[in-house]
């Protein structure tokens, strides 16, 4: 399980879990699960496009996730956000089917991009992810208070000069960047589970923002580590365990909250 070819996977998964836990808490607090689902899924055609053009996958992913962020914020100006998100996601995925069919021999790649492939991580892949991850964490650290304020009370934040529109855009950019880098490793569909599950559980367990942040990161790490171990032992895909564990954490946290309320 800790053989040398797995080490890179463990390191990568750890970086991604820390990020997903931190970004995810704000996704949950801001009620942006749909956007957090749509961005990675809409970014995955970027990998197919990069494959067609023969450039590095990461650039394709970042480009498409940027397109998604701009599309969602543009359309959401005069439309409900859930509708805008759905439409942008569909436009990007539609392009994805085209790229996939034009590049032909890509069936196995699709499965990996959607559901992740942790074993084949190389040392060279880790550095850009680590760098980008640090940038995102620093950005969250600097913006923690204004971000929290605008999340919990948009009106109060507006009187302090924090524009809700700009915060939305900036935050979506963060989500987009985080998903673009996590995508090749854990897969488009599971980045999302990792963002929403642990964070939602953390939010049910505590009301204090800083504690919730630590708890969210901790649960995300636990989810990823346990999933890798389980996937290694059972030879089932890691995505299955991530999805199941995330849902299980949420369910347990909800139950414990109900118990505490009843007590």
């Amino acid at each position: 399980m800790f053989a040398s070819y797995m080490i890179n996977g463990w390191i990568m998964a750890t970086i991604i879990a820390v990020l997903a836990g931190a970004v995810g808490l704000f996704v949950v607090l801001r009620g942006m699960s749909f956007a957090a689902h749509a961005l990675p899924l809409g970014a995955f055609p970027g990998a197919a496009a990069a494959n067609l053009l023969g450039i590095n996958e990461l650039w394709g992913l970042i480009g498409f996730s940027g397109l998604g962020v701009i599309g969602i914020t543009q359309l959401a100006q005069r439309q409900r956000r859930d509708v805008a998100t759905a439409l942008v996601l569909m436009a990007l995925l539609g392009l994805g089917t085209l790229f996939l069919s034009l590049s032909g021999h890509y069936a196995q790649g699709v499965y990996a991009l959607l559901f992740g492939q942790l074993v084949s991580v190389s040392r060279a892949q880790i550095w850009p992810v680590l760098a980008l991850g640090l940038v995102i964490l620093v950005a969250i650290g600097i913006c923690f208070r204004p971000l929290l304020l605008s999340t919990l009370s948009p009106d109060l934040a507006a009187t302090h000069g924090v524009s809700p529109k700009r915060t939305d855009f900036g935050f979506l950019l963060l989500v987009g960047a985080a998903t673009a880098m996590a995508l090749p490793v854990v897969g488009a569909l599971l980045v999302f589970s990792l963002m929403v599950g642990p964070a939602a559980a953390a939010r049910s367990l505590t009301d204090r923002p800083a504690t919730a942040l630590l708890l969210s990161v901790g649960l995300a790490l636990l989810t990823v580590w346990a999933s890798i171990a389980a996937a290694y032992v059972s030879d089932w895909p890691i995505g299955f365990f991530v999805g199941a564990l995330a849902a299980a954490f949420f369910a347990v946290a909800q139950l414990s909250r109900r118990f505490r309320r009843a007590a």
Partner: protein, 301 residues
């Protein structure tokens, strides 16, 4: 034929409809199935957009991919796989508390995540047993041309049930979608109607997952409906417009995909790409139309 039409007109027609379009059996099946899926999705889509449940609609279709994978694994018809899992997922969403608006987004996300995890596992098993990576593509992205003609009857049956249900609960469904408080004051059982909405939604999702694939079926559900809601001022008109837009996107998509054989030699572009893109373009068109002065005048009149 060429005696009737001048040559120039014939060649334009040929350019529009590549030779053999109307005679091809898969095209005929695709047009029938596609129309049924487009109509049902557009109708229920209008209510889904009004209720602000696009995410739930998308989640149902994504999760139904687990059903497609199960069907592939067991060797049964994909229709029943999609249908079974979509209905189950609708039940799970309801149980998990979809009706509390505050938690809706989150609960949908968690159920969606768990469902997708299941799909990952099932597709993994598919690939393991049948050693074909194509399962992921066909379940996720679908192909309307690959539907066997024998499925037409059952798919039309599912569509008929869905349309009938919409007709039966039309008024309470509309009222709860527009103003749940008013509806409940008038004695409408909001909760039961919500559950029926989810059920019809899963029928629609099943049909469109069969035609354009599980993760793209939201395009037929939300695209035409969102465009229609932008333009129309009355619910009845929105429903008619949505159906019209859905049909245009589907027929246009089938036609363009058929024509595309000629564009890149020997390789057709995917139907799903054309249908989703057309749906998106129609929506953008509807937004532009709303800004035109003529649209404002008719709206005021």
């Amino acid at each position: 034929m060429s005696a009737k039409f001048p040559d120039a007109a014939m060649s334009v027609l040929d350019l529009l409809f590549a030779p053999g379009f109307f005679a091809s059996a898969p095209v005929q099946t695709a047009l029938i199935i596609g129309s049924a899926a487009a109509i049902v999705s557009a109708l229920i889509g209008v209510f889904t957009v009004l209720r602000g449940q696009s995410f739930a609609g998308h989640a149902l279709s994504d999760i139904s991919s687990a059903g497609g994978s199960v069907a592939f694994l067991l060797g049964i018809s994909a229709l029943w796989g999609f249908l079974g899992v979509a209905v189950l997922a609708a039940g799970a969403l309801e149980l998990a508390g979809l009706r509390r608006a505050k938690e809706r987004d989150l609960v949908t996300g968690i159920v969606l995540g768990a469902g997708l995890g299941l799909t990952a596992l099932l597709l993994h098993l598919d690939i393991g047993t049948r050693s074909s990576g194509g399962a992921a593509i066909s379940v996720m992205f679908g192909s309307i041309f690959a539907i066997p003609a024998s499925m037409v009857l059952s798919m039309l049956g599912v569509s008929a049930v869905a349309v009938l249900l919409i007709g039966l609960i039309y008024r309470p469904l509309l009222l709860t979608s527009l103003d749940p408080n008013l509806a409940s004051a008038q004695g409408v059982r909001v909760h039961a109607v919500g559950l029926l909405h989810l059920l019809i939604l899963s029928l629609a999702v099943t049909l469109s997952a069969m035609t354009i694939g599980a993760i793209l079926s939201t395009a037929l559900l939300i695209g035409p409906a969102a465009a229609a809601v932008q333009i129309a001022r009355r619910p009845g008109r929105a429903l008619i417009l949505a159906v019209l837009f859905g049909l245009i996107a589907t027929w246009g998509g089938v036609l363009l995909a058929y024509d595309s054989y000629a564009w890149t030699p020997g390789q057709a572009w995917p139907v799903s790409f054309f249908i989703t893109s057309l749906a998106f373009l129609i929506y953008l068109g509807a937004r532009l139309w709303k800004r035109l002065p003529i649209a404002r005048r008719t709206a005021e009149a």
